[in-house]
């Protein structure tokens, strides 16, 4: 029974990981030629490329488990309600500070996640996680450096960085939610229990935010639903842009 549930739910889990990486790569791709300096154009594109690389490995694996679906089928032919990324990664870029806050929260989460997933009983996932963890730790360093500079830079940069933290903080609680699918896969040794990642995540972020002279907002609002295909209004527009060309030529090769 557990074995059957697990077999059916592995691709659903892999899609969550894949969609997080894909949608964040898509958002970061919007920065191209708009970054505050040339070095950041290079850095943000680098991060987007890493994430896109992880997304492609994960989508290909999910497609294989689902039976003959390609990475492109999954990226371009699913509708809004079929995407299971967290809402944090789909949030619009905002200013550079908001992008940095999103990167900080998410990369810190991915570092803990992939480090733990390296021990997964699913050998393919473990191998992908092992490879990805090195890259996301660079993403986290990059975000930390900018969080410090902006938080403790000028009054304007401090104000903007604090606003970025305030605006995105509520979306972080979804990262640490569990559900039946996760419980079954954690029991089978395939998935990482997100609840267990939170202490290390908070332990990492606390000193960074303090050094950056930033505070965590008091809020009771904890938007959620991404893992069940419930997204923000901005997400439909992101998909429309990403998918329109592919869908305009059904069956074509590129």
């Amino acid at each position: 029974m557990t074995q059957l549930a697990t077999t059916a739910s592995v691709p659903a889990y892999v899609l969550r990981l894949a969609d997080d990486a894909l949608i964040l790569a898509q958002r970061l791709g919007e920065w191209s030629a708009h970054a505050p300096e040339l070095e950041e154009d290079v850095a943000l594109t680098n991060i987007a490329l890493d994430l896109l690389g992880h997304a492609r490995m994960l989508l290909s694996y999910a497609g294989e488990l689902l039976g003959g679906r390609t990475e492109d089928d999954l990226a371009f032919l699913r509708d809004e309600r079929e995407f299971v990324n967290c809402q944090l990664v789909e949030r619009p870029n905002g200013d550079f500070a908001a992008t940095v806050a999103r990167q900080l929260f998410f990369a810190a989460y991915q570092c803990e996640l992939y480090a733990a997933l390296g021990e997964s009983a699913d050998a393919t996932l473990a191998a992908i996680a092992d490879r990805a963890v090195k890259e996301v730790s660079y993403h986290r360093d990059h975000a930390v450096q900018w969080t410090l500079r902006l938080g403790d830079g000028t009054p304007e940069s401090h104000r903007r960085m604090q606003a970025g933290v305030d605006g995105l903080w509520p979306y972080t609680s979804e990262l640490f939610e569990s559900d039946d699918l996760l419980l079954a896969l954690v029991a089978a040794g395939v998935a990482v229990d997100p609840v267990a990642l939170r202490p290390a995540w908070s332990g990492f972020l606390g000193p960074v935010l303090a050094e950056a002279t930033l505070t965590v907002p008091e809020t009771t609002w904890a938007p959620s639903g991404g893992r069940r295909g419930l997204h923000t209004e901005d997400f439909g527009l992101l998909l429309a842009e990403m998918q329109h060309l592919h869908r305009s030529h059904p069956g074509a090769s590129w």
Binding site: P36, E40, L49, R56, F76, T154, H249
Partner: protein, 320 residues
């Protein structure tokens, strides 16, 4: 001992050796190089716009990854070239200011829009292809830092050209709509690509001096002909038509003949009235202006680190 440095400079050039940043060089040589390297650097970063335009819409994840990597390469090319220019005694900020105020130019080709996905193929194949013809000889340019930068850049440009060709190859062999998209893109990019080599030799103002100084190795018309000769067979391989009815092999010359270039269009775009001149510059300036607070923050943060007493006391050591 008195060294006649002007004679030494000319001897270095004539021996096909490299001039290095610390060597004496005539002011006009320095000014010519600064103008050319800066224009080249500006072209790399403005060129990110028409291609970046399709990153979010690329039709497959593989194409998206390749396009992102290409646009990132162009940013890297901009960085090396600004560094090469800095060895001549100007800062990147000064050059960016000259670009933003319209006192230095970038390649006019980027003032055309990328309207469909096939344009990304055409830009890679034709624009990067033309850039390679222009740039390969610069790997032997008399100024060392520029020549060395170009060696690295040219390697990446040939990957850019191949990925563009590959995009068009797949489209051309694809559905009827894809083939039509590819043909339309080639129809729009062919002549602007031909114009990338600049005015004809008798009209070109800076060419002769640059040849004498070993900055330029071949004339505009020679490079243009080389590009056309290289590209026509590739168009055949792609099963796409180049929009020039006069294009045909001339056995006597050993080259392809081609039809008249619309120099009125060339000058119109160079002088600011192309389809995207205003848009490209406005986006570049906007990214710079909107990023000012970020750069200021980095500077302020670095200054506080260097002299902790200068900032708000204690803020940077709170978590130590």
């Amino acid at each position: 001992m008195i060294v006649d440095w002007e004679a030494e400079f000319q001897r270095t050039i004539d021996a096909d050796s490299r001039i290095e940043p610390r060597d004496h060089m005539p002011e006009s040589y320095r000014a010519t190089l600064i103008r050319q390297i800066a224009q080249h650097a500006h072209s790399e970063i403005i060129g990110m716009q028409p291609e970046g335009n399709w990153i979010t819409r690329a039709p497959s994840l593989k194409r998206k990854a390749i396009l992102m990597a290409k646009v990132q390469d162009e940013a890297g090319h901009g960085l090396y070239l600004y560094s090469a220019a800095e060895t001549l005694g100007v800062s990147r900020d000064q050059l960016i200011e000259l670009l933003h105020t319209g006192r230095q130019k970038y390649s006019s080709i980027f003032n055309y829009p990328t309207l469909t996905w096939a344009d990304i193929g055409a830009v890679g194949w034709l624009v990067d292809g033309a850039a390679i013809c222009n740039q390969v000889p610069l790997c032997r340019c008399s100024y060392g830092p520029y020549a060395r930068g170009m060696v690295r850049i040219c390697k990446e440009e040939s990957f850019h050209q191949r990925q563009g060709f590959e995009i068009l190859r797949v489209l051309s062999a694809g559905t009827a709509a894809q083939h039509a998209m590819a043909q339309d893109a080639v129809d729009r990019w062919w002549w602007p690509a031909i114009m990338m080599f600049g005015p004809t030799d008798d009209e070109s103002t800076h060419s002769q001096q640059s040849m004498t100084w070993g900055i330029k190795r071949f004339s505009n018309d020679e490079l243009r002909q080389r590009f056309i000769d290289m590209t026509v067979p590739q168009a055949d391989a792609l099963d796409l038509t180049l929009p020039d009815p006069a294009l045909r092999w001339n056995d006597e010359r050993g080259h392809y003949d081609f039809g008249p270039i619309d120099w009125a269009e060339f000058w119109q775009v160079v002088n600011g009235d192309g389809p995207c001149n205003r848009q490209r510059l406005a986006q570049r300036v906007a990214a710079h202006v909107e990023g000012a607070w970020v750069r200021d923050a980095a500077t302020a943060y670095a200054a506080k680190r260097a002299d902790p007493g200068a900032g708000q006391a204690g803020s940077s050591t709170a978590a130590a």
